[in-house]
């Protein structure tokens, strides 16, 4: 992931503001689009959004830090989020977690050097009946087993 150029960001925010409007209610959709496109929301992006919505950068920062799926730091191309809530825990989350750490050679919360993978935990994603479950970017993977995880990771590498 390369750091986006300032002008690119300004144009992007401009487009998004035109798409969603410049009210406070447009803040989240704008941030989500930036997150999706660049993989993170840089401090300049937050300030630019604040400027265009006529609010303060720190308010944008407050929103970005509030939501787990918005990030101020660059993440990998594939963000893997393993559910850590109780149903998945009981369904065998630990074995899946160990496999993920071993296969990716990453600890939870880390991003690989080549910026390809980010591994983190998340709270319930509503797949309690099909646990253990994880998200890779916006796709859900359910009923995970260590061997299934190896297969999935291999296909992404």
């Amino acid at each position: 992931m390369i750091f986006p150029d300032k002008n690119v960001l300004v144009n992007e925010v401009d487009t998004l503001v035109r798409k969603y409007g410049n009210g406070r209610e447009s803040l989240l959709p704008i941030l989500q689009d930036i997150q999706r496109k660049f993989g993170f929301i840089s401090d300049f992006a937050m300030q630019e959004v604040a400027h265009q919505l006529n609010i303060h950068p720190v308010e944008v920062y407050g929103v970005v830090t509030f939501y787990s799926f918005l990030s101020t730091e660059p993440k990998g191309k594939y963000v893997i989020r393993l559910c850590k809530t109780i149903s998945c825990e009981l369904a065998g989350k630990d074995a899946v977690a160990n496999t993920l750490e071993r296969e990716l050679n990453l600890k939870f919360g880390e991003t690989s050097m080549d910026r390809k993978f980010t591994l983190e935990y998340c709270h319930c994603i509503g797949m309690c009946d099909q646990g253990p479950a994880m998200l890779i970017n916006e796709s859900v993977y359910t009923k995970l087993t260590p061997s299934k995880v190896i297969e999935i990771i291999e296909s992404l590498k």
């Binding site: 401090d43 300049f44 300030q47 609010i55 303060h56 950068p57 920062y61 830090t65």
Partner: protein
């Protein structure tokens, strides 16, 4: 134009508002309720807290503040309402029915105690080593509710580094109770936006943009957050140790100047009610502490009026007589360092509208290290200038690199009212009982015009008293020189005077309606600037802006607490003292005449003044790198 000014950002439902009692009708009509088993008749729509206040029933509060919108964050004010399962926050519950409220039932007392225990479990710090010891709302509540042990434990280790990076404001997040008063102050009241709650749940933290140190973010140093913080999480940077050292050093000549609004507020630090003027006693106390000379910033305020008034007349002359279109009008005042930093950050392209005059504090510093040093035969490098200000932004201002036109730092230390009171107490002095004494020569007298700088609208009033008289040769046509449209506490005020029968040299001003505008609090300053950008200030000549609500009397360095009522009382004290002074106009101050004869020989806005008393501004912009 006033009605076109857009309202602030907090939703109407959260804004502080008062409900007026009415005979009948919906909101304001009387409604019968029961509080603690006794019947009361209160206006429909007011909150339980407000209803209890009006009937002298005490409900403890922590996050509630009269100046700010509602938060309902701390839950200390919970009460029990019959028929409602859960306890309700009294500050945020509007009375819309015939409710029965219990404010001190067992359930309420227990809940409040638990809330306090929970707050204290996360509140690190020892009360004796805290600047807010004995003036802390959390401490007061703990005493009120008899907290004698930490039910839910107490944090033992420091979790956060104290942020001392700013020139003015020190932040210690270990003492924060997440009441969000600072957030509401900075965003709603001041529209600066330094602080906001970030993260979520238990990890919630009041922080700056990207958790940067205070020096690196866009802060105007107004200190309003300090005045509203219920604990010691926010405080001003205290230079008193350095000042004591200078006083104790016999080679140093330590000069102190006191701002107009200090005298009206310092008594509060010694337990007096707001609105007691302590001028004479304060001067005596400062001499007893050991300052070599005690001067009155009001003198410098008079000097500011001479310079700023002349600058305004010169701008009018260039624009109206010579048709110079590059001249920017209206002229904005430049006395408030918080406002200066605000415009430098948020409206850098409008800096030319600002008067180039330094603030009175800096003018005085420059005069002391040049004229005064010369008169007294002192080496300016041995003079230490201290300024007691109601203001934390002055601490930043005196450290601006451009403020050294005398060849030395104009002002060495900026001290706040609170810190001065601390020094007085440390010297073993009880201020209210001291005999009165007078400021030192050669700047011993100041006019009432200089004095009223301390309240919002004061600079405008002082300037008008002088400008009107220079132009027409007559005093301003207001009874007892009280230009009442300038006074009051409305956020944005405007008025005008017509210049008739002017002197010959000001013929081009004949019949002109001099229009002026006054705003206080930077949220109001923002409204004025937006109006300027939209072109609605066409035809206005002079705008006074003070960064703090109420002007200097409500400054960030003033005694805590603050409220609209307290600020009003302080302003009244200042206007009362003004009315009693023999000299009421800046240009009639004999010391001002003397300094223009002896030192600033080419007159106001002349060459020497330009070098010493005027400054330039920096386009800072609002992006944080």
């Amino acid at each position: 134009m006033a009605d076109k000014i857009v309202e602030g950002r907090a939703p109407v439902s959260q804004k502080p508002h008062t409900v007026e009692s009415k005979e009948n009708g919906d909101i304001g009509g009387l409604i019968e309720i029961e509080i603690n088993g006794r019947p009361y008749s209160v206006p429909f729509g007011i909150t339980i807290l407000e209803a209890c206040k009006r009937n002298n029933i005490h409900i403890p509060t922590l996050c509630y503040h009269e100046d700010l919108c509602l938060a309902g964050a701390c839950r200390v004010c919970v009460v029990e309402i019959e028929g409602i399962r859960t306890l309700q926050a009294a500050c945020a519950y509007p009375i819309t029915g015939k409710i029965k409220v219990w404010t001190t039932s067992e359930r309420v007392r227990k809940a409040r105690r638990h809330i306090l225990d929970l707050l204290l479990s996360e509140h690190y710090g020892e009360c004796y080593s805290c600047v807010r010891n004995n003036n802390c709302e959390l401490q007061t509540l703990a005493k009120e509710y008899g907290v004698d042990f930490y039910r839910f434990g107490h944090i033992k280790e420091k979790r956060y580094e104290v942020d001392r990076s700013s020139y003015a404001i020190v932040r210690d997040m270990d003492k924060c109770v997440l009441c969000k008063r600072c957030v509401r102050t900075c965003i709603d009241l001041q529209e600066v936006g330094v602080l906001e709650a970030t993260r979520r749940g238990y990890a919630t933290l009041i922080s700056t943009f990207m958790d940067k140190p205070m020096l690196d973010v866009i802060c105007i140093n107004c200190g309003q957050c300090i005045n509203r913080c219920p604990t010691g999480a926010l405080r001003a940077k205290d230079p008193s140790d350095d000042i004591w050292r200078a006083i104790d050093d016999p080679t140093k000549h330590v000069v102190i100047q006191t701002a107009p609004s200090i005298r009206a507020a310092i008594g509060e630090e010694f337990g007096l009610p707001p609105g007691n003027s302590m001028t004479g006693q304060m001067v005596t106390a400062l001499r007893m502490i050991g300052f070599d000379r005690v001067f009155d910033t009001n003198f410098a305020a008079d000097l500011t009026i001479m310079e700023e008034g002349t600058e305004l007349l010169l701008r009018l002359k260039r624009k109206l007589l010579f048709g110079d279109e590059t001249v920017k009008l209206p002229q904005f005042t430049s006395c408030s360092p918080g406002w200066i930093k605000f415009i430098e950050h948020f409206y850098p392209e409008y800096l030319e509208y600002l008067s180039t005059c330094k603030s009175p504090q800096q003018m005085f510093g420059a005069v002391i290290k040049t004229f005064y040093a010369q008169e007294m035969g002192l080496d300016p490098s041995n003079i230490i200038t201290v300024a007691v200000m109601p203001c934390t932004a002055k601490k930043f201002e005196c450290n601006r690199p451009e403020m050294n036109s005398s060849g030395f730092k104009d002002i060495d230390y900026g001290l706040t009212t609170r810190e001065l009171a601390q020094m007085i107490k440390e010297a073993g002095i009880y201020l209210p009982e001291l005999p009165k004494s007078h400021f030192d020569e050669p700047f011993g007298d100041a006019s009432g015009a200089g004095l009223i700088f301390g309240a919002t609208g004061g600079v405008m009033e002082a300037a008008l008293r002088t400008v009107y008289e220079i132009v027409t040769g007559r005093p301003v046509p207001f009874e007892n020189l009280a230009i009442t449209p300038c006074r009051g506490m409305d956020g944005v005020r405007q008025a005008s005077v017509v210049l008739n029968d002017v002197k010959d040299e000001w013929k081009f001003l004949e019949g002109i309606e001099l229009k002026f505008m006054i705003a206080h609090g930077t949220a109001n300053a923002k409204k004025v600037m937006e109006a300027l950008i939209r072109g609605e200030l066409e035809g206005y000549h002079f705008v006074e802006i003070m960064a703090c609500p109420g002007g200097c009397i409500g400054g960030g360095g003033q005694p805590i607490p603050t409220s609209p009522e307290i600020r009003k009382k302080r302003a009244e004290a200042i206007y009362k003292e003004d009315a009693e002074l023999p000299i009421r106009k800046s240009h009639e101050n004999p010391h001002i005449k003397y300094i223009y004869e002896k030192f600033l020989v080419d007159g106001p806005c002349g060459h020497i003044s330009h070098k010493l008393l005027h400054t330039h501004y920096t386009k800072r912009g609002k992006y944080i790198v």
